[in-house]
């Protein structure tokens, strides 16, 4: 019987230790798992701590594409409590793999309906936070000097009049590249490979990354290239003081979502943080920090945005479940056509 005494003592001390790790007056810390483009002004997250007493620890390594895969691989010992930055192209993978708790912010109104995900594609798990369009950007100056009318639609881009003027990013190495491929798939359905063959015939240039497409090949004011059309973001023109613009009929909408990570020890607090990300405090802060549009209809846009930034009224969209089911096939078929 003696043997049990040390065990009991051990158990007792373990209980004491367990009690010690979470004293009641210690503030709860939530880990916010996000991607490396995440940024908010100083003081924004601190406002949340002042409101609720909850401290937020931001873990922002890696890019947006890796985010969901990280959550899937660490399902057994979650990386954090709240995730921000899952976009509509990865949403259904997150939903299917059970890495999120069912929760959508109750503060959403009908005005944000357009951003909600379909049920079964993440709709039960994810709250929309921001949205940005990937669109063909145009160098207005170049077209004025050349005396050529600017193209407007995807169809125009295969018009021989615009031969050799477009640079896109590769769908297999760049997220705006993939978004543009998805725009063409949404527009042409099963006929998209023909459209891409026509783009290739029209001397489209494929660059590996946004950075070199934009800075090396594009002819815009801060770039060195000679192609006046580039696949970029709808938020890029404000950086170029309006010298460039957006072809609003070529846009694919990328919406980023937040959710509660399954297995969190602080579900109630995690929900509060999701609500906070949707509140106007964060939403007003998003454009100037992450260069995307807030989804909250109550949010106000900064002045330069109101002046130069345009929003497509009818962007291309594809159901996240369909994207997830076809991503690999679409990308390899695309690579065979566009990067032979």
């Amino acid at each position: 019987m003696q043997r049990f005494i040390p065990l009991a003592a051990l158990a007792a001390s373990a209980l004491v230790l367990a009690g010690c790790t979470t004293p009641p007056d210690e503030p709860t810390t939530l880990v916010l798992v996000t991607h490396d483009s995440f940024a908010l002004s100083e003081g924004t997250l601190e406002a949340f701590t002042e409101q609720t007493g909850i401290v937020v620890d931001v873990q922002s390594g890696g890019d947006a594409g890796e985010l969901v895969n990280k959550l899937v691989l660490t399902k057994d010992s979650p990386l954090g409590d709240v995730v921000f930055g899952i976009d509509n192209t990865f949403a259904s993978r997150a939903a299917d793999n059970g890495v999120l708790e069912e929760y959508v912010s109750g503060d959403l109104t009908e005005a944000e309906d357009a951003f909600l995900l379909p049920a079964g594609s993440g709709g039960e798990y994810l709250t929309p936070i921001d949205s940005g369009d990937v669109c063909v950007n145009v160098d207005h100056e170049w077209f004025t000097e050349a005396g050529l009318a600017e193209p407007a639609t995807l169809d125009d881009l295969i018009d021989p009049a615009y031969e050799g003027l477009l640079v896109v990013e590769a769908a297999n190495s760049s997220s705006p590249g993939l978004a543009f491929l998805l725009a063409t798939i949404a527009a042409y359905g099963d006929g998209w490979p023909d459209y891409w063959s026509a783009l290739v015939d029209n001397q489209v240039k494929v660059a590996a990354s946004w950075s070199d497409a934009y800075y090396v090949d594009f002819s815009g004011p801060s770039s060195e290239g000679d192609r006046p059309l580039v696949v970029s973001y709808a938020s890029s023109p404000p950086f170029e003081s309006g010298v460039t613009g957006v072809l609003l009929d070529t846009c694919f909408r990328q919406t980023e979502y937040a959710g509660v990570i399954a297995g969190t020890e602080h579900p109630a607090e995690a929900r509060q943080l999701v609500d906070f990300l949707f509140s106007t405090v964060v939403q007003n802060d998003i454009p100037e920090n992450m260069y995307v549009f807030p989804v909250n209809s109550e949010a106000t846009l900064p002045e330069t945005w109101a002046e130069y930034a345009e929003i497509a009224t009818d962007p291309y969209v594809i159901d996240p479940a369909e994207i997830d089911a076809n991503r690999e096939r679409w990308i390899s078929e695309w690579a065979a056509i566009a990067t032979p």
């Binding site: 297999n172 760049s174 800075y215």
Partner: protein, 567 residues
């Protein structure tokens, strides 16, 4: 099997067997203690690589290959039989081999000039050859593409090879120079006097004696090239897939762990094959323990000097383009981009200023260098011994191989491996900044080992045995002989380790926290945003990164001069 034994060892063994020799018993007990010390020493590098590399990689590869606890043979065969897999593995090996060959050819004249000739600005040139090595690939990729745009080379294999050579010439130039310095030139001079032509002397004497360090440099360059990521994508216009880019695509985009794991195993096999090949040329050069005096250039050096100047100019072109970009704001000459480094950029581009990021970078790189030197030095002293037992020798070969693996395995595999292994106390490090220098040190250790080991191996066991016979305990042998001989090489290795840690991007960005971002991470963020001010800041920050690297390495090189004087 015993034919390759060192004669001194045999003599020692037969002496030890003499019956009734009282020192025999003493030797046994001290031999036991020595063996324990060696095993303990072996534990340092093995535990480091085991915990922070082998375990994470094995876990993630295991998940891919053993999806339900059973080896998925059919799945593995399916992946291997895809034409794409075969093509990618073939392309990776071919590309890396070609880049390595070119880098070797171009690096040798530079190594000669750095190690043998005395001229003004030699110290600066020594440090400056490291500049390409520290620059972020995305910045260099953009500089290269800007130069090649509108030429048929844009998006070609030639462009990829050019950039790979650009990054790696420093490795050859510096690793080989370290050995070249300690070669006694009198042997070559004697051959010349006896009538051998310069080519014949170079091929039959110099090359043969430099073979171990050339092999070491080649293996490092090959591994850097075979795991290159940004360079291959940006300069190849996303047309070419290598094992590395494919692992990234499969892991981060498709979540196809099975195929990614098969390719990770392919990377490991490539490293092992490489080790088998280079072990054949390891050889043992004659021990030389001093640096031979450099001399003024002669007329006969003209071709080598001309080649070096041409290579230096070729390396300088992309750098000059970068420097020019950093000095322009909206097309006009200006220092504005450098002034902006004290800010977080226009429109809150950054969370920390580039200067703060530089501070973070220096801190992480210093920690990583310390760690890499500790692990690398212990490993080198150990690996340079020739134990009597064949089992122990095999064991050393294994340690040698294990230390090289981190260079040849994808940062994506290691990064995701970290996530699923280092998740419980006492190693709950997934969210800790400590992982950043550890990941950097993993890449730096092989560089330290490859730089030091050829020099330490050249010592030969006779000198150590002589010291031991004269009564020096093992620790004293290590301090006075090993470290004495390798002191200068250790400083060169420190410079390389620091450079690779300072420039490391792949693992660092995966692990870094927003408040502790390093300068390469900040540069990557800036170049990923539209607007001329951000691109200009990225260029300026890259120039600062390069300048700081040269300054730190030049400082280390100064120490080098002092130690060299002791010989």
């Amino acid at each position: 099997m015993g034919g390759d034994r060192d004669p001194v060892t045999l003599i020692r063994q037969s002496r030890g067997r003499e019956a009734g020799n009282p020192s025999h018993l003493r030797r046994i007990s001290s031999r036991g203690a020595t063996a324990a010390a060696w095993i303990l020493a072996a534990a340092v590098p093995l535990v480091f690589v085991g915990v922070f590399f082998a375990w994470p990689v094995a876990s993630i590869v295991g998940r891919g290959l053993f999806p339900d606890g059973m080896l998925d043979v059919a799945g593995i065969v399916e992946v291997l039989s895809r034409p794409r897999t075969v093509r990618i593995i073939g392309f990776t090996i071919g590309m890396a081999a070609a880049a390595t060959a070119i880098t070797l050819v171009l690096g040798m004249p530079v190594a000669y000039v750095l190690s043998r000739l005395r001229f003004r600005g030699r110290g600066v040139l020594r440090a400056a050859v490291l500049v390409p090595f520290v620059l972020p690939t995305v910045v260099v990729g953009i500089a290269f593409r800007a130069l090649l745009r509108d030429t048929p080379l844009d998006g070609s294999v030639v462009a990829i090879l050019a950039a790979l050579v650009f990054f790696n010439v420093a490795v050859v130039a510096r690793t080989v120079a370290v050995s070249w310095e300690s070669l006694d030139p009198r042997q070559e001079e004697a051959a010349r006097v006896l009538g051998a032509g310069p080519v014949r002397v170079f091929v039959t004497i110099t090359l043969r004696r430099l073979a171990p360090s050339i092999a070491a440099a080649a293996s490092i360059v090959f591994l850097f090239c075979s795991t290159a990521f940004g360079t291959v994508l940006v300069l190849g216009g996303a047309k070419y897939a290598t094992i590395e880019t494919e692992i990234w695509l499969l892991t981060t985009q498709f979540l196809d762990l099975r195929a990614a794991s098969v390719l990770s195993v392919a990377q490991i096999v490539v490293v092992l094959l490489l080790l088998v090949i280079t072990a054949r040329v390891r050889g043992r050069t004659t021990a030389q323990h001093r640096s031979f005096a450099t001399r003024r250039p002669r007329r006969s050096d003209t071709p080598v000097i001309a080649a070096t100047v041409l290579i230096a100019l070729a390396l300088a072109v992309p750098l000059a383009a970068l420097l020019e970009r950093s000095l322009r704001v909206a097309g006009e000459w200006s220092g504005g981009n450098y002034l902006a480094l004290a800010s977080t950029g226009g429109r809150n581009a950054l969370t920390v200023t580039p200067w703060q990021a530089l501070g973070n970078s220096l801190g992480f790189a210093a920690a990583a260098t310390g760690l890499a030197m500790l692990v690398g030095l212990v490993a080198c002293v150990l690996l340079s011994r020739t134990p009597r037992s064949p089992v122990a020798r095999r064991g050393l070969d294994l340690v040698d191989g294990a230390l090289m693996l981190p260079l040849g395995v994808s940062a994506v595999t290691v990064g995701f491996g970290f996530l699923i292994t280092l998740n419980s106390p006492p190693l709950d490090l997934r969210t800790s900044p400590v992982l950043v220098p550890i990941a950097q040190a993993l890449v730096a250790v092989p560089l330290v080992v490859r730089t030091l080991l050829p020099v330490l191996r050249s010592v030969g066991s006779r000198m150590r045995d002589a010291a031991a016979t004269l009564g020096a305990p093992p620790w004293r042998v290590i301090l006075t002989i090993d470290l004495g001989v390798a002191g200068r090489a250790a400083l060169a290795a420190t410079g390389l380790a620091f450079t690779v840690a300072l420039g490391e991007f792949g693992a660092t960005t995966f692990l870094s926290r927003p408040d502790a971002a390093t300068l390469p991470v900040v540069i990557y963020r800036l170049i990923g945003l539209p607007g001329g001010d951000n691109a200009g800041m990225a260029a300026a920050a890259s120039v600062v990164l390069a300048a700081v690297c040269v300054a730190v390495v030049a400082l280390v090189e100064r120490l080098r001069v002092d130690t060299a004087g002791a010989f």
